[in-house]
Protein backbone atom coordinates (compact mmCIF):
# COMPACT_ATOMS: atom_id res chain seq x y z
CA UNK A 1 0.00 0.00 0.00
CA UNK A 2 1.37 3.43 -1.01
CA UNK A 3 1.25 6.23 1.57
CA UNK A 4 1.77 9.97 1.10
CA UNK A 5 3.86 10.19 4.24
CA UNK A 6 4.52 13.96 4.02
CA UNK A 7 0.79 14.66 3.82
CA UNK A 8 0.03 12.39 6.82
CA UNK A 9 2.85 13.99 8.85
CA UNK A 10 1.35 17.41 8.09
CA UNK A 11 -2.12 16.29 9.19
CA UNK A 12 -0.59 14.87 12.38
CA UNK A 13 1.42 18.06 13.03
CA UNK A 14 4.46 15.84 13.44
CA UNK A 15 7.92 17.07 12.41
CA UNK A 16 9.67 14.10 10.75
CA UNK A 17 13.17 13.86 9.34
CA UNK A 18 13.69 12.40 5.86
CA UNK A 19 15.09 9.26 7.46
CA UNK A 20 11.99 8.89 9.60
CA UNK A 21 9.77 9.39 6.57
CA UNK A 22 11.48 6.53 4.74
CA UNK A 23 11.36 4.29 7.82
CA UNK A 24 7.67 4.90 8.57
CA UNK A 25 6.69 4.63 4.91
CA UNK A 26 7.97 1.07 4.81
CA UNK A 27 6.70 0.04 8.25
CA UNK A 28 3.25 1.56 7.80
CA UNK A 29 2.85 -0.09 4.40
CA UNK A 30 3.53 -3.53 5.80
CA UNK A 31 1.24 -2.97 8.81
CA UNK A 32 -1.53 -1.68 6.53
CA UNK A 33 -1.16 -4.66 4.20
CA UNK A 34 -1.60 -6.87 7.25
CA UNK A 35 -4.68 -5.12 8.63
CA UNK A 36 -6.32 -4.94 5.18
CA UNK A 37 -7.20 -8.60 5.82
CA UNK A 38 -10.40 -7.25 7.41
CA UNK A 39 -11.75 -6.82 3.87
CA UNK A 40 -12.34 -10.58 3.81
CA UNK A 41 -15.37 -9.93 6.02
CA UNK A 42 -18.68 -8.69 4.65
CA UNK A 43 -19.95 -6.02 7.06
CA UNK A 44 -22.57 -4.21 4.95
CA UNK A 45 -25.44 -4.87 7.39
CA UNK A 46 -23.37 -4.55 10.59
CA UNK A 47 -23.74 -1.64 13.04
CA UNK A 48 -20.61 0.01 14.40
CA UNK A 49 -19.66 -0.44 18.07
CA UNK A 50 -18.06 2.54 19.77
CA UNK A 51 -19.31 2.19 23.37
CA UNK A 52 -18.98 -1.35 24.65
CA UNK A 53 -21.09 -1.28 27.82
CA UNK A 54 -24.07 0.33 26.10
CA UNK A 55 -24.21 3.69 27.91
CA UNK A 56 -25.90 6.47 25.95
CA UNK A 57 -26.49 10.18 26.53
CA UNK A 58 -24.63 10.49 29.82
CA UNK A 59 -25.42 13.97 31.11
CA UNK A 60 -24.88 15.98 34.25
CA UNK A 61 -26.53 19.08 35.66
CA UNK A 62 -25.46 22.27 33.89
CA UNK A 63 -23.82 23.69 36.97
CA UNK A 64 -20.43 25.35 37.38
CA UNK A 65 -18.06 23.27 39.51
CA UNK A 66 -14.73 24.21 41.09
CA UNK A 67 -11.89 24.14 38.60
CA UNK A 68 -8.18 24.92 38.37
CA UNK A 69 -7.00 28.42 39.23
CA UNK A 70 -5.39 30.44 36.45
CA UNK A 71 -2.04 30.05 38.18
CA UNK A 72 -2.39 26.25 38.34
CA UNK A 73 -3.68 25.98 34.80
CA UNK A 74 -0.67 27.78 33.38
CA UNK A 75 1.91 26.26 35.76
CA UNK A 76 3.25 23.79 33.20
CA UNK A 77 3.80 26.35 30.44
CA UNK A 78 6.28 29.06 29.52
CA UNK A 79 3.52 31.36 30.66
CA UNK A 80 3.66 35.09 30.94
CA UNK A 81 1.54 36.72 33.67
CA UNK A 82 -0.74 33.68 33.82
CA UNK A 83 -1.28 33.57 30.07
CA UNK A 84 -0.15 31.03 27.48
CA UNK A 85 2.47 32.23 25.03
CA UNK A 86 1.80 31.25 21.42
CA UNK A 87 3.32 32.26 18.11
CA UNK A 88 1.64 35.25 16.48
CA UNK A 89 -0.94 34.15 13.94
CA UNK A 90 -1.30 37.43 12.04
CA UNK A 91 2.43 37.94 11.44
CA UNK A 92 2.19 37.06 7.76
CA UNK A 93 -0.40 39.69 6.91
Amino acid sequence: MKIDITHIAKLANLPLTDEEKTLYSGQLSSILDYIARLNELNTTEIEETSQVTGLTNVLRDDKALPSLSQEDATSGSQSDKGQFKVKGIFDNE
Binding site: L11, A12, N13, L14
Partner: protein
Protein backbone atom coordinates in the same frame (compact mmCIF):
# COMPACT_ATOMS: atom_id res chain seq x y z
CA UNK B 1 8.71 -8.60 56.14
CA UNK B 2 9.73 -11.11 53.50
CA UNK B 3 7.09 -11.85 50.86
CA UNK B 4 4.27 -10.02 52.65
CA UNK B 5 0.82 -9.77 51.11
CA UNK B 6 -1.62 -6.92 51.73
CA UNK B 7 -3.70 -9.29 53.87
CA UNK B 8 -0.70 -10.16 56.07
CA UNK B 9 0.52 -6.56 56.27
CA UNK B 10 -3.01 -5.52 57.28
CA UNK B 11 -2.88 -7.93 60.25
CA UNK B 12 0.56 -6.71 61.31
CA UNK B 13 -0.55 -3.08 61.11
CA UNK B 14 -3.78 -3.71 63.02
CA UNK B 15 -1.96 -5.74 65.72
CA UNK B 16 0.66 -2.94 66.02
CA UNK B 17 3.44 -5.42 65.17
CA UNK B 18 4.66 -2.93 62.61
CA UNK B 19 3.85 0.70 61.80
CA UNK B 20 3.08 2.05 58.36
CA UNK B 21 6.24 4.15 58.65
CA UNK B 22 8.38 1.05 59.26
CA UNK B 23 6.68 -0.76 56.39
CA UNK B 24 7.21 2.24 54.09
CA UNK B 25 10.85 2.59 55.09
CA UNK B 26 11.37 -1.11 54.41
CA UNK B 27 9.97 -0.84 50.86
CA UNK B 28 11.86 2.40 50.14
CA UNK B 29 15.01 0.54 51.22
CA UNK B 30 14.26 -2.36 48.87
CA UNK B 31 13.63 0.10 46.01
CA UNK B 32 17.00 1.76 46.62
CA UNK B 33 18.72 -1.64 46.67
CA UNK B 34 17.14 -3.02 43.51
CA UNK B 35 16.05 -0.17 41.28
CA UNK B 36 19.43 0.59 39.68
CA UNK B 37 19.44 -2.96 38.41
CA UNK B 38 15.77 -3.48 37.50
CA UNK B 39 14.75 0.09 36.50
CA UNK B 40 11.19 -0.41 37.74
CA UNK B 41 10.71 3.16 39.06
CA UNK B 42 11.01 6.45 37.19
CA UNK B 43 10.34 8.59 40.27
CA UNK B 44 10.62 7.66 43.95
CA UNK B 45 8.50 10.02 46.05
CA UNK B 46 10.18 9.33 49.38
CA UNK B 47 9.25 12.53 51.18
CA UNK B 48 5.56 12.28 50.26
CA UNK B 49 5.51 8.55 51.08
CA UNK B 50 6.93 9.06 54.57
CA UNK B 51 4.41 11.80 55.28
CA UNK B 52 1.51 9.61 54.05
CA UNK B 53 2.80 6.79 56.28
CA UNK B 54 2.84 9.08 59.31
CA UNK B 55 -0.73 10.15 58.59
CA UNK B 56 -1.76 6.50 58.24
CA UNK B 57 -0.14 5.70 61.59
CA UNK B 58 -2.15 8.47 63.22
CA UNK B 59 -5.36 6.92 61.87
CA UNK B 60 -4.27 3.45 62.96
CA UNK B 61 -3.66 4.81 66.46
CA UNK B 62 -7.26 6.06 66.48
CA UNK B 63 -8.43 2.54 65.74
CA UNK B 64 -9.18 3.00 62.03
CA UNK B 65 -8.73 -0.11 59.93
CA UNK B 66 -9.65 -0.06 56.27
CA UNK B 67 -8.14 -2.56 53.80
CA UNK B 68 -5.45 -0.30 52.29
CA UNK B 69 -4.74 1.98 55.27
CA UNK B 70 -0.96 2.30 55.64
CA UNK B 71 -0.24 -0.09 52.73
CA UNK B 72 2.71 0.99 50.50
CA UNK B 73 1.85 0.94 46.78
CA UNK B 74 3.36 2.09 43.50
CA UNK B 75 1.61 3.79 40.58
CA UNK B 76 2.30 3.37 36.89
CA UNK B 77 3.74 6.73 35.81
CA UNK B 78 0.69 7.46 33.67
CA UNK B 79 -1.54 8.16 36.71
CA UNK B 80 -1.66 11.89 37.42
CA UNK B 81 -0.33 12.68 40.89
CA UNK B 82 -0.71 16.20 42.21
CA UNK B 83 2.70 17.75 42.81
CA UNK B 84 4.63 14.60 41.81
CA UNK B 85 6.16 14.44 38.33
CA UNK B 86 4.17 12.32 35.87
CA UNK B 87 6.02 11.47 32.65
CA UNK B 88 4.11 8.69 30.83
CA UNK B 89 7.77 7.57 30.33
CA UNK B 90 7.99 10.10 27.49
CA UNK B 91 10.47 12.92 26.95
CA UNK B 92 7.43 15.09 26.07
CA UNK B 93 6.42 15.09 29.76
CA UNK B 94 9.85 14.65 31.37
CA UNK B 95 9.32 17.58 33.73
CA UNK B 96 5.52 17.73 33.90
CA UNK B 97 3.99 18.25 37.38
CA UNK B 98 0.21 17.59 37.47
CA UNK B 99 -2.11 20.04 39.23
CA UNK B 100 -4.56 17.35 40.33
CA UNK B 101 -4.88 13.65 41.22
CA UNK B 102 -6.62 11.14 38.98
CA UNK B 103 -9.79 9.62 40.46
CA UNK B 104 -8.11 6.27 41.21
CA UNK B 105 -5.22 8.09 42.94
CA UNK B 106 -7.66 10.23 44.92
CA UNK B 107 -9.49 7.08 46.08
CA UNK B 108 -6.27 5.30 47.06
CA UNK B 109 -5.13 8.34 49.05
CA UNK B 110 -8.53 8.61 50.70
CA UNK B 111 -8.26 4.94 51.68
CA UNK B 112 -4.97 5.77 53.44
CA UNK B 113 -2.62 3.97 51.04
CA UNK B 114 1.01 5.13 50.90
CA UNK B 115 2.32 5.97 47.42
CA UNK B 116 6.01 5.09 47.11
CA UNK B 117 6.60 6.34 43.59
CA UNK B 118 5.89 6.13 39.89
CA UNK B 119 6.77 3.06 37.86
CA UNK B 120 8.29 2.66 34.42
CA UNK B 121 6.30 1.80 31.29
CA UNK B 122 6.48 1.81 27.52
CA UNK B 123 6.15 5.52 26.72
CA UNK B 124 2.43 6.47 26.56
CA UNK B 125 1.70 2.77 27.31
CA UNK B 126 2.64 1.89 23.71
CA UNK B 127 4.25 -1.51 23.80
CA UNK B 128 4.32 -5.07 25.08
CA UNK B 129 7.79 -5.29 26.59
CA UNK B 130 8.63 -2.08 28.45
CA UNK B 131 11.41 -1.36 25.95
CA UNK B 132 9.70 1.71 24.44
CA UNK B 133 10.30 3.73 27.62
CA UNK B 134 12.29 6.94 27.11
CA UNK B 135 13.73 6.18 30.57
CA UNK B 136 15.29 2.82 29.60
CA UNK B 137 13.83 -0.70 29.74
CA UNK B 138 12.72 -2.48 32.91
CA UNK B 139 14.23 -5.94 33.52
CA UNK B 140 12.42 -9.14 34.37
CA UNK B 141 13.45 -10.04 37.94
CA UNK B 142 13.22 -13.78 37.20
CA UNK B 143 15.94 -13.38 34.57
CA UNK B 144 17.27 -9.90 33.93
CA UNK B 145 18.17 -10.69 30.31
CA UNK B 146 14.44 -10.94 29.59
CA UNK B 147 11.61 -8.40 29.26
CA UNK B 148 9.02 -8.08 32.08
CA UNK B 149 6.22 -7.49 29.56
CA UNK B 150 4.45 -4.19 29.02
CA UNK B 151 3.27 -1.65 28.72
CA UNK B 152 2.92 -1.66 32.54
CA UNK B 153 6.49 -2.90 33.01
CA UNK B 154 7.67 -1.40 36.29
CA UNK B 155 4.53 -2.15 38.34
CA UNK B 156 4.58 -5.99 38.17
CA UNK B 157 8.35 -5.94 38.72
CA UNK B 158 7.88 -3.75 41.81
CA UNK B 159 5.38 -6.27 43.22
CA UNK B 160 7.39 -9.38 42.26
CA UNK B 161 10.64 -7.95 43.67
CA UNK B 162 9.28 -6.73 46.97
CA UNK B 163 9.50 -3.02 46.10
CA UNK B 164 5.78 -2.44 46.77
CA UNK B 165 2.89 -4.49 48.17
CA UNK B 166 0.77 -3.77 45.10
CA UNK B 167 0.92 -1.50 42.07
CA UNK B 168 -1.42 0.07 39.59
CA UNK B 169 -1.41 -0.39 35.83
CA UNK B 170 -3.44 0.31 32.73
CA UNK B 171 -4.57 -2.23 30.13
CA UNK B 172 -5.51 -1.09 26.63
CA UNK B 173 -4.62 -4.29 24.77
CA UNK B 174 -3.05 -6.54 27.40
CA UNK B 175 -0.75 -4.15 29.26
CA UNK B 176 -1.67 -5.60 32.67
CA UNK B 177 -2.40 -9.25 31.86
CA UNK B 178 0.72 -9.87 29.76
CA UNK B 179 3.28 -8.40 32.21
CA UNK B 180 1.48 -10.03 35.16
CA UNK B 181 1.97 -13.41 33.49
CA UNK B 182 5.64 -12.59 32.71
CA UNK B 183 6.37 -11.60 36.33
CA UNK B 184 4.44 -14.22 38.34
CA UNK B 185 1.90 -11.79 39.82
CA UNK B 186 -1.89 -11.44 39.68
CA UNK B 187 -3.11 -8.74 37.28
CA UNK B 188 -6.65 -7.50 36.70
CA UNK B 189 -8.01 -5.68 33.67
CA UNK B 190 -11.45 -4.65 34.95
CA UNK B 191 -14.55 -4.21 32.80
CA UNK B 192 -14.37 -1.03 30.67
CA UNK B 193 -15.48 1.85 32.90
CA UNK B 194 -15.49 -0.11 36.19
CA UNK B 195 -12.64 2.11 37.41
CA UNK B 196 -12.72 5.76 36.38
CA UNK B 197 -10.21 6.78 33.69
CA UNK B 198 -10.19 10.41 34.83
CA UNK B 199 -6.66 11.65 35.47
CA UNK B 200 -4.98 8.67 33.85
CA UNK B 201 -3.18 9.87 30.71
CA UNK B 202 -5.31 8.58 27.84
CA UNK B 203 -3.98 6.14 25.29
CA UNK B 204 -7.07 4.83 23.43
CA UNK B 205 -10.17 6.06 25.19
CA UNK B 206 -12.64 3.35 24.14
CA UNK B 207 -10.22 0.60 25.23
CA UNK B 208 -8.30 1.90 28.28
CA UNK B 209 -8.97 -0.01 31.52
CA UNK B 210 -7.62 0.99 34.90
CA UNK B 211 -6.36 -2.01 36.88
CA UNK B 212 -3.60 -3.28 39.14
CA UNK B 213 -1.08 -5.94 40.16
CA UNK B 214 -0.84 -7.85 43.43
CA UNK B 215 0.83 -11.01 44.70
CA UNK B 216 -2.45 -12.81 45.42
CA UNK B 217 -6.03 -12.86 44.20
CA UNK B 218 -7.41 -11.76 47.57
CA UNK B 219 -5.09 -8.74 47.61
CA UNK B 220 -6.31 -7.89 44.12
CA UNK B 221 -9.94 -7.95 45.23
CA UNK B 222 -9.17 -5.65 48.19
CA UNK B 223 -7.54 -3.13 45.86
CA UNK B 224 -10.42 -3.11 43.34
CA UNK B 225 -12.84 -2.57 46.22
CA UNK B 226 -11.22 0.84 46.71
CA UNK B 227 -10.94 1.98 43.08
CA UNK B 228 -14.16 0.65 41.47
CA UNK B 229 -17.33 2.72 41.15
CA UNK B 230 -19.14 5.42 39.26
CA UNK B 231 -17.43 8.82 39.30
CA UNK B 232 -18.87 11.65 37.28
CA UNK B 233 -15.57 12.90 35.81
CA UNK B 234 -15.55 9.77 33.62
CA UNK B 235 -18.87 9.62 31.79
CA UNK B 236 -18.16 6.03 30.74
CA UNK B 237 -18.12 4.75 34.34
CA UNK B 238 -21.54 3.10 34.63
CA UNK B 239 -24.08 3.40 37.47
CA UNK B 240 -23.72 -0.25 38.43
CA UNK B 241 -23.30 -1.32 42.07
CA UNK B 242 -19.88 -2.48 43.22
CA UNK B 243 -20.21 -5.88 44.92
CA UNK B 244 -18.15 -6.99 47.92
CA UNK B 245 -15.32 -8.63 45.99
CA UNK B 246 -13.97 -10.75 48.87
CA UNK B 247 -17.29 -12.00 50.23
CA UNK B 248 -17.59 -15.10 48.01
CA UNK B 249 -13.92 -15.66 47.20
CA UNK B 250 -13.74 -19.17 48.62
CA UNK B 251 -16.96 -20.43 47.09
CA UNK B 252 -15.09 -22.85 44.82
CA UNK B 253 -15.80 -23.87 41.24
CA UNK B 254 -18.15 -26.86 41.57
CA UNK B 255 -20.71 -26.74 38.77
CA UNK B 256 -18.99 -23.80 37.10
CA UNK B 257 -18.95 -23.87 33.30
CA UNK B 258 -15.50 -22.99 31.97
CA UNK B 259 -15.27 -22.27 28.25
CA UNK B 260 -12.14 -22.96 26.25
CA UNK B 261 -12.21 -20.88 23.03
CA UNK B 262 -10.54 -23.09 20.42
CA UNK B 263 -9.40 -20.09 18.34
CA UNK B 264 -7.07 -19.05 21.18
CA UNK B 265 -4.96 -22.17 20.70
CA UNK B 266 -3.17 -20.70 17.70
CA UNK B 267 -0.20 -22.04 15.72
CA UNK B 268 2.23 -19.69 17.45
CA UNK B 269 1.28 -20.92 20.93
CA UNK B 270 4.23 -22.53 22.73
CA UNK B 271 3.19 -26.22 23.10
CA UNK B 272 4.60 -26.29 26.63
CA UNK B 273 2.32 -23.39 27.60
CA UNK B 274 -0.61 -25.22 26.02
CA UNK B 275 0.30 -28.25 28.10
CA UNK B 276 0.27 -26.17 31.30
CA UNK B 277 -3.16 -24.73 30.41
CA UNK B 278 -4.47 -28.25 29.74
CA UNK B 279 -3.25 -29.36 33.17
CA UNK B 280 -4.88 -26.32 34.77
CA UNK B 281 -8.19 -27.10 33.04
CA UNK B 282 -7.89 -30.74 34.20
CA UNK B 283 -7.48 -29.49 37.76
CA UNK B 284 -10.64 -27.39 37.49
CA UNK B 285 -12.48 -30.39 36.08
CA UNK B 286 -11.36 -32.49 39.05
CA UNK B 287 -12.83 -29.82 41.36
CA UNK B 288 -16.24 -30.26 39.74
CA UNK B 289 -16.16 -27.61 37.01
CA UNK B 290 -17.37 -28.44 33.55
CA UNK B 291 -14.94 -27.75 30.70
CA UNK B 292 -16.67 -26.82 27.45
CA UNK B 293 -14.98 -26.17 24.11
CA UNK B 294 -16.44 -23.05 22.53
CA UNK B 295 -15.85 -20.99 19.42
CA UNK B 296 -15.28 -17.24 18.99
CA UNK B 297 -15.24 -17.32 15.18
CA UNK B 298 -13.88 -13.82 14.51
CA UNK B 299 -10.94 -14.06 16.94
CA UNK B 300 -8.30 -14.03 14.22
CA UNK B 301 -9.40 -10.51 13.18
CA UNK B 302 -9.07 -8.99 16.66
CA UNK B 303 -5.49 -7.79 16.32
CA UNK B 304 -6.24 -6.01 13.02
CA UNK B 305 -9.30 -4.30 14.51
CA UNK B 306 -7.23 -3.36 17.53
CA UNK B 307 -4.41 -1.77 15.54
CA UNK B 308 -6.89 0.39 13.64
CA UNK B 309 -9.06 1.56 16.55
CA UNK B 310 -6.20 1.92 18.99
CA UNK B 311 -3.90 3.93 16.70
CA UNK B 312 -6.80 6.14 15.57
CA UNK B 313 -7.62 6.99 19.20
CA UNK B 314 -3.92 7.39 20.06
CA UNK B 315 -3.43 9.92 17.23
CA UNK B 316 -6.41 11.86 18.48
CA UNK B 317 -5.43 11.76 22.18
CA UNK B 318 -1.80 12.69 21.51
CA UNK B 319 -2.85 15.66 19.37
CA UNK B 320 -3.19 17.69 22.59
CA UNK B 321 0.56 17.61 23.27
CA UNK B 322 1.55 20.80 21.51
CA UNK B 323 4.23 22.04 23.92
CA UNK B 324 2.26 25.25 24.55
CA UNK B 325 0.18 24.59 27.66
CA UNK B 326 2.58 22.05 29.20
CA UNK B 327 5.30 19.60 28.21
CA UNK B 328 7.85 19.67 25.40
CA UNK B 329 7.17 19.99 21.67
CA UNK B 330 5.97 17.22 19.36
CA UNK B 331 9.53 16.63 18.14
CA UNK B 332 10.14 14.95 21.54
CA UNK B 333 7.86 11.98 20.79
CA UNK B 334 9.76 8.67 20.58
CA UNK B 335 9.69 6.37 17.54
CA UNK B 336 6.76 4.17 18.64
CA UNK B 337 4.47 7.11 19.46
CA UNK B 338 5.33 8.68 16.10
CA UNK B 339 4.59 5.41 14.32
CA UNK B 340 1.18 5.12 16.02
CA UNK B 341 0.29 8.77 15.46
CA UNK B 342 1.10 8.34 11.76
CA UNK B 343 -0.84 5.10 11.40
CA UNK B 344 -3.82 6.48 13.33
CA UNK B 345 -3.85 9.71 11.35
CA UNK B 346 -3.75 7.70 8.13
CA UNK B 347 -6.70 5.41 9.01
CA UNK B 348 -8.77 8.45 10.03
CA UNK B 349 -7.84 10.57 7.02
CA UNK B 350 -10.24 11.53 4.25
CA UNK B 351 -10.79 8.70 1.79
CA UNK B 352 -9.58 5.97 4.16
CA UNK B 353 -11.98 6.38 7.10
CA UNK B 354 -14.61 3.99 5.71
CA UNK B 355 -12.09 1.41 4.57
CA UNK B 356 -10.28 1.23 7.89
CA UNK B 357 -11.88 2.90 10.91
CA UNK B 358 -15.53 2.29 10.08
CA UNK B 359 -14.77 -1.25 8.97
CA UNK B 360 -12.93 -1.92 12.24
CA UNK B 361 -15.85 -0.58 14.31
CA UNK B 362 -18.18 -2.94 12.44
CA UNK B 363 -15.94 -5.96 12.99
CA UNK B 364 -15.82 -4.93 16.62
CA UNK B 365 -19.57 -5.60 16.71
CA UNK B 366 -18.95 -9.11 15.32
CA UNK B 367 -16.35 -9.73 18.05
CA UNK B 368 -18.81 -8.53 20.67
CA UNK B 369 -21.53 -10.83 19.31
CA UNK B 370 -19.11 -13.79 19.46
CA UNK B 371 -18.63 -13.25 23.20
CA UNK B 372 -22.31 -12.64 23.91
CA UNK B 373 -23.17 -15.97 22.25
CA UNK B 374 -20.38 -17.79 24.10
CA UNK B 375 -21.35 -16.43 27.52
CA UNK B 376 -24.83 -17.92 27.04
CA UNK B 377 -23.11 -21.31 27.28
CA UNK B 378 -20.34 -20.73 29.84
CA UNK B 379 -19.68 -18.67 33.00
CA UNK B 380 -16.04 -17.84 32.32
CA UNK B 381 -13.30 -18.72 29.81
CA UNK B 382 -9.72 -19.78 30.42
CA UNK B 383 -6.93 -19.13 27.90
CA UNK B 384 -3.17 -18.58 28.02
CA UNK B 385 -2.27 -14.95 28.85
CA UNK B 386 0.58 -14.97 26.31
CA UNK B 387 1.37 -17.32 23.43
CA UNK B 388 5.07 -17.32 24.37
CA UNK B 389 7.42 -17.02 27.33
CA UNK B 390 9.01 -13.61 28.01
CA UNK B 391 11.50 -12.86 25.23
CA UNK B 392 15.02 -11.50 25.48
CA UNK B 393 15.54 -7.74 25.70
CA UNK B 394 16.09 -6.41 22.16
CA UNK B 395 14.70 -9.48 20.41
CA UNK B 396 11.63 -7.80 18.89
CA UNK B 397 12.48 -4.09 18.95
CA UNK B 398 13.36 -3.83 15.24
CA UNK B 399 10.14 -5.49 14.06
CA UNK B 400 7.02 -3.59 15.22
CA UNK B 401 4.60 -6.12 13.71
CA UNK B 402 6.05 -9.07 15.62
CA UNK B 403 5.85 -6.99 18.82
CA UNK B 404 2.20 -6.14 18.05
CA UNK B 405 1.37 -9.84 17.63
CA UNK B 406 2.42 -10.62 21.21
CA UNK B 407 -0.93 -9.11 22.29
CA UNK B 408 -2.87 -11.58 20.18
CA UNK B 409 -4.59 -13.30 23.13
CA UNK B 410 -5.39 -10.16 25.12
CA UNK B 411 -6.64 -7.39 22.77
CA UNK B 412 -9.96 -9.16 22.27
CA UNK B 413 -11.13 -8.41 25.84
CA UNK B 414 -10.43 -4.67 25.40
CA UNK B 415 -12.34 -4.47 22.13
CA UNK B 416 -15.46 -5.94 23.76
CA UNK B 417 -14.92 -4.36 27.19
CA UNK B 418 -14.94 -7.53 29.29
CA UNK B 419 -12.74 -8.11 32.37
CA UNK B 420 -9.72 -10.41 32.41
CA UNK B 421 -7.63 -11.74 35.29
CA UNK B 422 -4.11 -13.08 34.85
CA UNK B 423 -3.09 -15.67 37.46
CA UNK B 424 0.28 -17.51 37.72
CA UNK B 425 0.22 -21.20 36.72
CA UNK B 426 3.89 -22.11 37.02
CA UNK B 427 7.30 -21.77 35.39
CA UNK B 428 9.13 -22.85 32.23
CA UNK B 429 12.91 -22.46 31.99
CA UNK B 430 12.71 -20.46 35.22
CA UNK B 431 10.33 -17.92 33.63
CA UNK B 432 6.73 -17.40 34.82
CA UNK B 433 3.61 -18.47 32.90
CA UNK B 434 0.07 -17.19 33.50
CA UNK B 435 -3.47 -18.04 32.54
CA UNK B 436 -6.10 -15.51 31.55
CA UNK B 437 -9.61 -15.86 33.02
CA UNK B 438 -12.26 -13.94 31.04
CA UNK B 439 -15.87 -13.27 32.04
CA UNK B 440 -18.88 -11.21 30.94
CA UNK B 441 -19.09 -7.47 31.68
CA UNK B 442 -18.89 -6.71 35.43
CA UNK B 443 -18.05 -10.31 36.42
CA UNK B 444 -14.89 -9.43 38.38
CA UNK B 445 -16.23 -11.16 41.48
CA UNK B 446 -16.57 -14.43 39.54
CA UNK B 447 -13.08 -14.11 38.04
CA UNK B 448 -11.66 -13.71 41.54
CA UNK B 449 -13.48 -16.86 42.74
CA UNK B 450 -12.06 -18.88 39.85
CA UNK B 451 -8.53 -17.55 40.30
CA UNK B 452 -8.62 -17.90 44.08
CA UNK B 453 -9.61 -21.60 43.90
CA UNK B 454 -6.55 -22.43 41.77
CA UNK B 455 -4.18 -20.24 43.74
CA UNK B 456 -5.11 -21.84 47.08
CA UNK B 457 -3.75 -25.21 45.94
CA UNK B 458 -1.05 -23.78 43.63
CA UNK B 459 0.57 -20.87 45.51
CA UNK B 460 3.14 -20.05 42.80
CA UNK B 461 3.25 -16.48 44.11
CA UNK B 462 5.42 -17.73 46.96
CA UNK B 463 8.27 -18.38 44.50
CA UNK B 464 9.97 -15.01 44.43
CA UNK B 465 12.81 -14.05 42.05
CA UNK B 466 16.28 -15.20 43.08
CA UNK B 467 18.52 -12.96 41.01
CA UNK B 468 16.99 -9.54 41.51
Amino acid sequence: MNNLTIVEARKKLDNKEVSSLELTQYFLGEIKKKNDHLNAFITISEKEALSMAEQADEKLKNGDSTPLLGIPLALKDIYMTKGVRTTAASKVLESYIPQYDGTAVMLLKKAGAVILGKTNLDAWAHGSSGENSDFGPTKNPYNTEYVPGGSSSGSPVAVASEMALAASGTDTGGSIRLPASFCNVVGLKPTYGRVSRYGVIAMASSLDSIGHFTKTVEDNALYLQVTAGKYTMDATSPPIDVPNYTQNLSQGVKGLKIGVPKEYFIDGLDPRIKNMIDKTLKWYEDQGAEIIEISLPHTSYAIEVYYIIQTAEVSSNLARYDGIRFGNTRASFGPEAKRRIMLGTYVLSAGYYDAFYKKAMQVRTLLKNDFEEAFKKVDVMITPASPTLPWKLGEKTSDPLSMYLSDILTVHANLVGIPGLSVPIGFLEGLPVGMQILGPHFSEEKLYQVGYAFEQSHPFWKERPKNE
